[in-house]
Point group: C2
Amino acid sequence: MAELDVVRSGGPGIRPESAQQARLLRLLRDLGPSSRAELGEAAGLSRSRLAVEVDRLLQSGAVVQDGLAASRGGRRSHRLRLSPRIGFLGVDIGATSLDVAVAGAELELLAHVSTPVDVRDGPTEVLSRAVEMAGRALRESGIDRPLGAGIGLPGPVRFPDGRPVAPPIMPGWDDFPVRDHMAAALGCPVLVDNDVNIMALGELHAGIARSVRDFLFVKIGTGIGCGIVLGSRVHRGVNGSAGDIGHIQVDRGGPPCSCGNTGCLEAYFGGPALVRDAMEAVATQGSPGLEERIARRRKERERAGLPLAVGAGGGSAAEAPGGVELTPEDVAAAATAGDRVALSLIRQGGRRVGQVVAGQVSFLNPGMIVLGGGLVHLGPVLLATIRTEVYRRSLPLATGQLPVVVSELGGTAGVIGAARLISDHVLEVPAPGGG
Amino acid sequence: MAELDVVRSGGPGIRPESAQQARLLRLLRDLGPSSRAELGEAAGLSRSRLAVEVDRLLQSGAVVQDGLAASRGGRRSHRLRLSPRIGFLGVDIGATSLDVAVAGAELELLAHVSTPVDVRDGPTEVLSRAVEMAGRALRESGIDRPLGAGIGLPGPVRFPDGRPVAPPIMPGWDDFPVRDHMAAALGCPVLVDNDVNIMALGELHAGIARSVRDFLFVKIGTGIGCGIVLGSRVHRGVNGSAGDIGHIQVDRGGPPCSCGNTGCLEAYFGGPALVRDAMEAVATQGSPGLEERIARRRKERERAGLPLAVGAGGGSAAEAPGGVELTPEDVAAAATAGDRVALSLIRQGGRRVGQVVAGQVSFLNPGMIVLGGGLVHLGPVLLATIRTEVYRRSLPLATGQLPVVVSELGGTAGVIGAARLISDHVLEVPAPGGG
């Protein structure tokens, strides 16, 4: 595959030489430009120790004096900030989309490019596109040497070696060395994780969970998964499979699930289950709102000259009578228009999600629940139902001050979180040979 | 209340002066007597740095040279070990029992005394007994100045200030300052936690989970709770209520629970639910095994001259026809004798516990499940049923190498864990004024 010609190895000296320097770099990343006094206090370092470490970081080029403060005259001391030459790549590979961003030293987005892909085209094809887009984003951003790249994948990942593990919707990816492949192509350190974990990290760094050390990020899309952040770190479990709540049983006598068990959460809710139930409701009880959406879809396809019967189907769409697809967006639109059947479907789904989340709240006693993923756009009824169920079903002590909220970052949570993932790594591990 | 006359404040200098010394002390606690080479390698310290820190610890009296090694001649270097003067108190307060132990520097039990109490007598009475027993245990152990005391309570505890929070089976204890009260009476630092968390710590230190950093300790007794150990630390959650799995819903349409909800795990299983179901089974379908136990109990009471009808009832016993109590032990005995009704009750309970534990396994992906608490004595059928349910219901990736095992320490897990709790604290926080 194409190597990325603009990327060289990370600039020498920018990576920390000691754990203390790493801590100062992470503080500057999270606090932004700071005075020496602020930085020393946050790091718990004496004035003299701080002076030594800051001098080294200034010499290495990782830290610079803030030019604006300097221009105000000699009385005020310069503020310190991370070098504007520092940047990280964040790559978010979805089932049908590819997002690549370059984040600056404080993980602010400098460039963000997005394109449709089909993850089923396999790793060689999709990762080649990612490298190509990384080159474009880097040129746009003015960063020529990213310190590292974080990558999110829509399936389970064995974190230590960055390989997918039997990912259900990614044929051809099982055990592919994504991390090593991309590290070679990009010429920088790479870490790979699943999409839910990187979205959680995005919300932790720049979203609604900024001030929260322990929270759950619940993604409701085609599948349902959970990112667990404890002590500001992602908890991955001993095999990296932590957070897979989609196959927790909500009812012993429930419907069969694709995993072979019965009554799993995903057998009740998520894209495919919602569309299945919507189609069934149209067929059995009728629904003016959903039927109108079907008619509208049919007209759109006729105008576009497309055949009415569509075979492909991304898993989250089902064929209506007459071969027209119905999507979760249709259910959302019908619900917004007040369709009672659509609203009832969303409420049922929300209750099931809330039931499982309530169990995890009693179990882990987190400080916040953040809801994200495509199905969050089903609207306020979903949020309200989940919230009610969590408050009703969890221990009062655990829900006394528990916000249940929607993701702030939406579509950029993944790339920001991917950049955060690799920056945590690069700004923690001292460079080889360093003190 | 009585102050403990044998206890003075911790010996000066035994507490660590720096984080590095604290780390060396914890390593000697967990590794036992070690050579300087072993210790330096485990601590990642250079030879010269280690020499400086060890000299300080030898001077303070916290560490001693191993006498046995010294007697073998001058060639071999002395082994280092923690002072035999170091000791910790572990106090485990149950609903009906009080255990107090003195643990040595490596948390080995030096003395262990136990007595029946009724926790409903209130904190003044029960804690007074605990102080009195601590004095007895200290005299027996030869330790005169414990470095600290860990205390476990059978209810929710606000960990930061060591006060019970609305504990359901501890009238009079709500918000009582257990930590401060005991610190004053014992003259040493005290930490208070709930019983399940300290049992988990006991298994981590000296039991079946010794080599496991992430595991769940599931206690099945009158109530059902879970100790969550992540990275060798207890996870308590933002309000300290983490691990309360007894009120996770297992079935929407289930029986009412004492908490006001329906279908909670404790509404299905645990001491009171098991006895309730056993009594109902005797009344509706008959059970030769359980009926024989009832007859035996009746004879025992007659021989002892006790009235047949007993009013008290500790919550986990119910009155059989004729006023005789039936207990979980009776169900266990009937099951061991092959009674089909008793076996079926245990299997049903095990399936419910397994269902909830399976959800937590999918969610957290731990490295081990340890089962403890009184109902574990219901026998191998309970373990087998829980194990089957967990393996069947959790993700294959999460259960590939997941041992589901019974607690090794049994009745001493609590006191050892309580000693571990306070030793983690004392051997971590540098003494005031220290470097």
